[in-house]
């Protein structure tokens, strides 16, 4: 964590009362260190042919904008009003009732009034009114309208990259106005003039080239899986080799690359590998791919078009390998894209077949068009059909709570399956308060491409609402493990927990599954996947 990040007690001094006498239009936004992310580097935009690649810094007065940037943005605005009913409607129908205001984790954690979803949207609506409504053209400020100028554009950029597209506000909005939709739209506009953040632009360029956000090349990807294979062998005594890019497999497995890259995601990855090995004898025929080695989609945080360009690899690779269907790993926005966009972007996947579990024979009817199944659904079905031999007491050292990741919750609705699995692989499960889970779940504070390092203060603020709920169950039930089904969660929660609730660790669900799974011919398991002693095995470790 950056040394400059203020301490929790500093950050905790949050005032949620906006200024009394000065309206928000009267004060230009101040771009603060620790909150903003670095601007996109030209090479990353060039690689994917995004417009106006250049060196620029958010702190500079001059952002080196193209001369006709206003026309570009206005033209882009109009074009999108004609292409997205959502945007047009959401510009027109907000009544500013304020129901969304205190629902945003960034407002809760910062008190910055522009982080109230309604006001973040008004930053854009005000320009809409000025350019596209009669009232706004005639009355200006009195109609809530203002001109698009450089300060406004900077304000957009600053606050659009302080929204994690988590959709919590849209649950509470009486008209379903979705700030995520407005942010997606607004970010498309900033990208028209070359303004992105590098933490999004770099993964996009990487993913385009190497197949994954982290830029892991095929041989390195294999190295990583090999490394995990060795680790697993150490723990279980069984060598669980995985197939890569194998033609003719029945199923293609795609997971976020974060899972192969850093702890604790890697343990989840080992969990997948162990599950696949376990099922091999039961008839699972599955391959991983280095070309489609990314489940996530940072293109989605750039533009619909970029999302589609990156997403295309999944069906293309499925077709090339000749698989019947695709299995997807634990990830958040990945599943919003897969659920609500993929088939529309790049379907229909006619060369694939309606997914059927080769182990249980269950037809995944809810995926009969996209042909892509969530591994949580897949595993829940296995457990329901008694296909896994599990010893949940191996997770008895864990008091688990479950964080519903925003997108699987509010962009899909996969709420019960993960809980079903958790309840079958561990004995101590405690829910956080109802206002903070399921469809009302709080974001980790670092989603939608904001999991950079330079904006650590923003992330700690944004994650406060989630951390506060974790702290509650930690103090009440002794919760020491935060489970989630999102790779970004696994990447960012360790920092967040260390900052707000230091005694709580982070895990994916398949890590716990793998710990509990009893393999035929395994050696006596004394440690979990992290190499820490299993409950009751502490002595043996010492010996």
């Amino acid at each position: 964590m950056a040394d400059t990040t203020p301490k929790p007690k500093e950050i905790a001094k949050i005032d949620h009362t906006p200024p009394l006498m000065r309206g928000w239009m009267d004060e230009p936004a101040e771009i603060k260190k620790g909150i903003y992310c670095y601007g996109s580097k030209p090479s990353n935009l060039e690689y994917v042919d995004m417009p106006f690649p250049r060196e620029w810094s958010p702190l500079n007065d001059d952002w080196n904008l193209p001369e006709n940037w206003k026309d570009i943005v206005k033209e882009g605005f109009k074009d999108r009003l004609d292409r997205f009913r959502s945007v047009k409607l959401f510009m027109d129908i907000c009544v500013r009732c304020g129901a969304c205001a205190d629902k945003c984790h960034f407002f809760i954690g910062s008190g910055d009034p522009r982080n109230m979803p309604v006001l973040r949207a008004e930053l854009i609506r005000s320009v809409y009114r000025r350019n596209f409504t009669t009232g706004g053209k005639l009355l200006g400020k009195l109609a809530g309208a203002r001109d698009l100028d450089k300060d406004v554009l900077k304000e957009w950029w600053y606050y659009l990259y302080q929204c994690t597209e988590c959709r919590r506000c849209s649950v509470f909005c009486p008209y379903g106005i979705d700030m995520a939709e407005i942010t997606i739209f607004g970010r498309e506009l900033t990208n028209l003039v070359g303004l992105n953040i590098d933490w999004i632009a770099a993964p996009v360029a990487n993913c385009y080239r190497t197949g994954n956000h982290l830029g892991i090349q095929p041989h390195a990807y294999k190295d990583m899986l090999d490394f995990f294979t060795d680790e697993i062998e150490d723990i279980t005594g069984i060598r669980m080799e995985q197939d890569l890019n194998r033609k003719g497999a029945e199923i293609l497995f795609i997971t976020p690359s974060g899972d192969v890259f850093a702890d604790p995601g890697t343990y989840t990855c080992m969990g997948y590998m162990m599950l696949f090995h376990y099922l091999k004898n039961l008839g699972l025929d599955i391959t991983w791919s280095t070309y489609a080695s990314e489940g996530g989609n940072f293109g989605y945080f750039t533009s619909h078009e970029m999302a589609k360009r990156l997403n295309a690899k999944m069906y293309a690779e499925a077709k090339r390998l000749g698989v019947k269907w695709i299995l997807g790993g634990e990830c958040g926005h990945m599943w919003r894209v897969l659920n609500q966009y993929m088939d529309t972007f790049n379907g229909p996947a006619d060369n694939l077949e309606e997914p059927v579990s080769p182990i249980t024979g269950t037809k995944f009817e809810n995926a009969r068009s996209t042909k892509m199944v969530h591994i949580i659904e897949f595993t829940a079905d296995l457990i329901k059909n008694n296909k896994l031999k599990l010893d949940p007491s191996r997770n008895d050292n864990l008091n688990v709570t479950f964080h519903d990741s925003c997108n699987p919750a509010r962009g899909m609705g996969i709420l019960e399956e993960p809980r079903y699995i958790i309840n079958n692989v561990c004995n101590n499960f405690y829910e956080m308060p109802p206002n903070t889970i399921r469809e009302q779940t709080f974001c980790c504070g670092s989603g939608a491409g904001l999991n950079a390092g330079e904006n650590m203060e923003l992330r700690m603020r944004g994650g406060l609402a989630r951390a506060n709920a974790v702290k509650y169950v930690h103090e009440k039930f002794g919760v020491n493990m935060l489970a989630c089904i999102c790779a970004i969660d696994r990447a960012v929660f360790p920092n967040l927990m260390e900052y707000w609730v230091p005694e709580v660790d982070v895990t994916g669900i398949h890590e716990m599954v793998a710990n509990a799974m009893i393999f035929e011919g395994e050696k006596k398991r004394t440690t979990d996947l992290r190499g820490e002693p299993l409950p009751g095995m502490e002595e043996e470790e010492d010996v």
């Binding site: 997205f84 129908i93 129901a99 205190d102 979705d178 088939d343 529309t344 469809e439």
Partner: protein, 362 residues
Amino acid sequence: MNFIVSILFSGFAFSVVVLIPWIGVGAFDLRVFFGVIVPYAAMATFFVGIVVRVIDWARSPVPFRIPTTAGQGWSFPWIKSNPIDNPKGMGGVIVRMLFEVLLFRSLFRNTSLEYRRTGGLPKIDYEWEKWLWLSALVFHWSFLVVFLRHFRFFMEPIPGFVHLLENLDGFLQLGVLPFNGLGVPGVYITDGLLLAAVTYLFLRRIYISQVRYISLPADYFPLLLIIGLGLSGVLMRYFLRVDITAVKELAIGLFKFSPKVPDGIGVLFFIHLFILCVLIAYFPFSKLMHFIGVFLSPTRNLANNNRFVRHVNPWNYPVATHTYEEYEDEFREHMVEAGIPVEKGVEPKEEDKEVPETSQKE
């Protein structure tokens, strides 16, 4: 622009709306203008404006099916799904929309943030907050009942449902304050509820700091119009009676397109009518369009069935992708070396053969 400017501006606009008919009828006796021309113009603006706006919305397609899922989706038979908050098909969507439109279900979820610090560290709670939902619900339903009750002035004979509503609405059988004498009509509950709710909605814009900060003149103005509309109506009904027979003659004439303005209608009625005209003429250009917009909202009116029913984007266009061939061309040698299957083998070149051996020796 702060909230005082916003309130002053909308208050000023509202005052003008009241003064125009007051002076127009009171001083210049422009009864036909305010009794016939303005109402027709306002109604035309209302209907044409709404149609134009809705067509404009509808012209923009819905490229992606993006419902906000607020409950368990449909997956396995053994997992209980939430067919209303996460609808699988049209039936669920209809129920969801009905809940939304009739009962303001999303607003019902509202809570209020309670932020405290204990020992310098944050402690966050989410408190019960149903006042916004309650006042919104009371306001909209009361407005509807009041509107329907007005059919007694437009229609002859008075339709049965109006009598029914009047009886229900007036069941408390309250007379007005005793000093007003006999013959005073019973008090309608909705008159009071409407005014109370709309006043609350106005006041909360001022005393809730966050709502105060985001409120625009466009938020205060319609509330003032509705308060003015309600007050002038209440005044007419309970205190400063107008000639109801004459008013009804005017109203029926308007709806039969043979308008005439009978004598004996007081200025207060023209103020009431003019406020209404401004409100409906303002309607299509304002946030009041939420009334229709909510039906078109793609996060609410679509089923979460993307994975089993494909949604088609009418403007979907081909995009540049990085193909597998390009990928393999870049990484083929590494892949072969690592034992990853490839489509094309590595073409052996003379110098390539030499290089690894020499490098190994080093």
